[in-house]
């Protein structure tokens, strides 16, 4: 291992070192966690827009009874791809963007533990996302029209609908192969971030001094590396059933399609916490900063997060009450589900207590953080109502569940992620987003989401089933559906305001200082955006809020702007991208039932891995 030793001292050289190489090659080969974070952000934001357009088409279809904007077949593809895209291509990678950009800065590190593995994760994620979405356009290759071969079995892909007998086209193949690729990206990132957080902490950064966002990220990564193997195997069974004629989910052979539900939700419920814990971490950073108070009960918030991580494994069958598992299983899972609301509720009280008596600064980030708390409470309460099997049986497969999931994942995760975007935008880009536009964005989105999703509670209780492409006027839900559609388009408008804000900020935005918000954590001690080496001197941490002066600890000194000694910066590498390319090639082989392509894919993967393993990692 030889690394470039950058020349020291002179200001011109230091400035050159600060920015790092530019150009297309520098981005394609980058191993810098900040650049990979930005790549994650822009890619995931693009998929978020695609998933949003799918949602608007769904709502346009449902605006009126007996709608005929899209056919039933297209509608199936729209809701399947909307769910799959938002969960795997928008929310998870938007969180990953913050893991990448912020975690090394918060723990006082120069990069993640395995910079090239990090690049590999990104390229695998990108190829998985493109593979899934290619299904919209590639119909003609399978002797079908455009918009005909996208996945159409729901984001949960229940067996035995996904068997070749019932879904003969390539739709489900796109879905399961795409998810397998994305799972590899998440797993690789999971190993990387666990090691980064445990092993690359600055001196004095004890575990109970870690920022809350870093703690919640750590719990999330443990959930990822334990939950994803389960869905990997469940999907392998679907692959074998579809490609090799096995009977893992075939009733006639003695198997039970319920195996899929158990395996999927055994993954799926931890996945819910994979989606929400990072947002909880972001909110736990934003609230103290803008209340000028330490997080109330920091250890309890951390322990609650860990407890949620463990308990998240014991509640999966509440997704399956309608299956009829029997009174004992139903009672146990009802009890565990109600119990998991306790650590979640503890956190909510901690957040409210953080605000209480604080010196509140009503920034856009704080608006989103408080919006998160309020909306997540509503989503949490409707969640507790599903915990009771008799109530759940009334709600299963109705719009009530759609209302619940959107209060949790939109009102919760998306609100939390937007809080993070407004909070860390100056750190990531060097410019402050416009606050007036940000507040307009917030209020449009807040009103829009409540108009869109609150009526769904009523629509569901009145009996409208989900995943059905239309409904009759006699059901009496026409007006409520129209309100919901108006709300959805308001959300769309709010996102346009945000896009405009980003564009305007990139041109006219106010330059950000190192620390525009007076934050307590280490990322605010360095330039915005940070130099390529992050910290000119690795800080020594003496307290949980290193940059705040508290009763116990004085604030630590910020590192000097110019490094006093040469800093080793690892260079770029092509091989993570080459290795990643092997995976979609292998998936293409399965998709087209062409055996020789798989050997090409394996060869590319192995070639990439070997070059990666034996290259001297330097500039």
């Amino acid at each position: 291992m030889s690394q470039r030793a950058a020349p020291a001292a002179p200001a011109a050289l230091a400035a050159q070192m600060t920015h790092g190489p530019t150009g297309l090659k520098a981005w394609l080969t980058t191993t810098d966690h900040k650049r990979i974070g930005l790549l994650y952000f822009w890619t995931a934001f693009g998929f978020f827009l695609i998933g949003g357009i799918e949602a608007l088409m769904i709502r346009a279809q449902l605006a009126q009874p007996n709608g005929h904007l899209v056919s039933a077949e297209t509608y199936n593809q729209l809701f399947t791809m909307h769910g799959t895209t938002m969960v795997f291509l928008a929310l998870m990678p938007l969180s990953a963007a913050f893991f990448n950009y912020i975690i090394p800065l918060q723990i006082g590190a120069r990069d993640v533990a395995f910079p090239r593995l990090n690049a590999f994760s990104y390229w695998v994620f990108l190829s998985g996302g493109l593979f899934l979405n290619a299904s919209w356009l590639t119909g003609p290759l399978f002797h079908a029209g455009m918009l005909n071969v996208a996945p159409d079995g729901g984001w949960f892909g229940y067996a035995n609908l996904t068997e070749r007998q019932f879904s003969p086209g390539p739709n489900i193949d796109f879905w399961l192969l795409g998810l397998q690729i994305l799972g590899i990206a998440s797993l690789a990132a999971g190993f990387n971030f666990i090691v980064t957080i445990l092993n690359l902490r600055a001196p004095g950064m004890k575990m109970m001094r870690l920022p809350t966002f870093t703690w919640m990220t750590l719990v999330t990564q443990f959930l990822i590396i334990t939950a994803f193997p389960v869905i990997t195997v469940a999907l392998v069974f679907v692959m074998f059933d579809r490609f090799f004629g096995t009977h893992f989910y075939v009733h006639q052979a003695g198997a039970t399609p319920l195996l899929w539900q158990h395996l999927f939700w055994l993954f799926g419920h931890p996945e819910v916490y994979i989606l929400i814990l990072p947002a909880m971490g972001i909110v736990s950073e934003v609230l103290p900063t803008f209340s000028r108070k330490p997080l109330f009960g920091y250890p309890v918030v951390v322990y609650s997060g860990i407890l949620i991580g463990f308990m998240g494994w014991g509640v999966w069958s509440h997704h399956m009450f309608a299956v009829g598992l029997g009174p004992i299983a139903d009672s146990v899972f009802a009890a565990t589900t109600m119990l998991i609301a306790v650590p979640t509720g503890v956190k909510i009280f901690n957040w409210i207590a953080t605000l209480w008596g604080g010196d509140i600064h009503g920034t856009t980030a704080l608006h989103f953080a408080v919006g998160f708390i309020a909306m997540f409470i509503i989503g949490g309460l409707s969640g507790v109502s599903h915990a009771s099997p008799p109530a759940d049986l009334q709600q299963t497969d109705t719009y009530y569940v759609v209302a619940h999931i959107h209060y949790v994942l939109f009102g919760g995760t998306i609100m939390g992620l937007f809080a993070g975007m407004y909070y860390w935008w100056p750190k990531m880009t060097g410019r402050l987003l416009s606050e007036p536009l940000g507040k307009l964005h917030f209020w449009l989105q807040f009103v829009g989401m409540n108009l869109a999703f609150f009526p769904m509670h009523l629509i569901g209780l009145l009996g409208m089933p989900r995943r059905i492409y239309t409904y009759g006027p006699e059901l009496g839900v026409s007006d409520l559906n129209l309100v919901s559609t108006v709300g959805a388009f308001l959300i769309g408008l709010s996102i346009l305001v945000f896009v405009f804000n980003m564009w305007r900020t990139s041109r006219h935005g106010q330059r950000a200082s190192n620390d525009p918000w007076r934050g307590a954590t280490l990322e605010w001690s360095i330039a915005s955006p940070p130099p390529v080496y992050n910290f000119s001197v690795i800080p020594t941490v003496t307290g949980r809020l290193p940059r705040w002066h508290t009763e116990r600890h004085p604030a630590i000194q910020d590192p000097p702007a110019v490094p006093p000694a040469p800093i080793h910066v690892p260079g770029g590498s092509w091989w993570p991208m080459v290795a990643a390319l092997g995976l979609p090639i292998m998936a293409l082989s399965a998709l087209t039932h062409t055996l020789w392509i798989v050997f090409v894919g394996v060869a590319v993967l192995l070639f990439g891995i070997y070059r990666w393993a034996f290259e001297p990692f330097e500039v």
């Binding site: 990069d111 590396i225 090799f244 198997a255």
Partner: protein, 194 residues
């Protein structure tokens, strides 16, 4: 794998690559756990034969199992040789580990072929589905391990592997022992407890 950016000083005092590998093994436990659970859930659910007791050859597989256990011992010797800088024996033991892995894979090929001749394929019944996918996944792991060991052996022959790379060999050993332990579970669950 080469070193990470900050490999030499770590907060936990444990090499980052080794820690990453332990998290990987934790993840693999869930992978094999799911496969083994599925095997157990579908045990006795096949509606047509051949059934496990008609077809599983315990003496033959016992020999394969012994072979794999022996390979773990040899892997320990390989690591010890690398650590003390004895590259002559390191090469011998690394190659021996890989060859013992190949013998195990050969045994699996013979076993699978025999089963197919006796009428058990992937598609025959649930036993066939779960058995071949579980043991096949394990076999794929052994194959990756053999490739990895042969790579180390080639590096040793080229003179590019020495005591400075002991951590690389140690991690290879972790992988190899893990795959071995998984086989002991599979052998017990599938072959011994019918």
């Amino acid at each position: 794998m080469t070193h990470s950016a900050v490999a030499h000083h770590t907060s936990m005092g444990l090499d980052s690559r080794k820690m990453a590998f332990w998290t990987f093994i934790g993840s693999e436990c869930l992978l094999f756990g799911t496969l083994i659970s599925t095997y157990l859930i579908y045990k006795g659910k096949s509606v047509v034969g051949p059934y496990p007791h008609e077809i599983l050859n315990i003496p033959f597989t016992s020999v394969s199992t012994f072979d794999l256990l022996l390979s773990s011992l040899v892997m320990v010797l390989a690591l010890a040789a690398v650590q003390r800088g004895d590259m002559k024996w390191a090469k011998i033991w690394l190659l021996s580990t890989a060859l013992l892995g190949l013998v195990f894979l050969g045994g699996q090929v013979i076993e699978f072929t025999e089963f197919v001749h006796k009428g058990l394929t992937l598609q025959t019944n649930l036993f066939g589905c779960t058995f071949f996918v579980l043991t096949g996944t394990h076999g794929a792991h052994v194959a990756v391990g053999v490739l990895w060991l042969l790579t180390l052996w080639v590096r040793a022959v080229q003179g590019k592997l020495g005591p400075a790379n002991a951590m690389t060999v140690e991690i290879t050993g972790l992988y190899w022992h893990f795959v071995d332990v998984v086989w002991i579970v599979i052998f017990t669950v599938v072959y011994l407890i019918q």
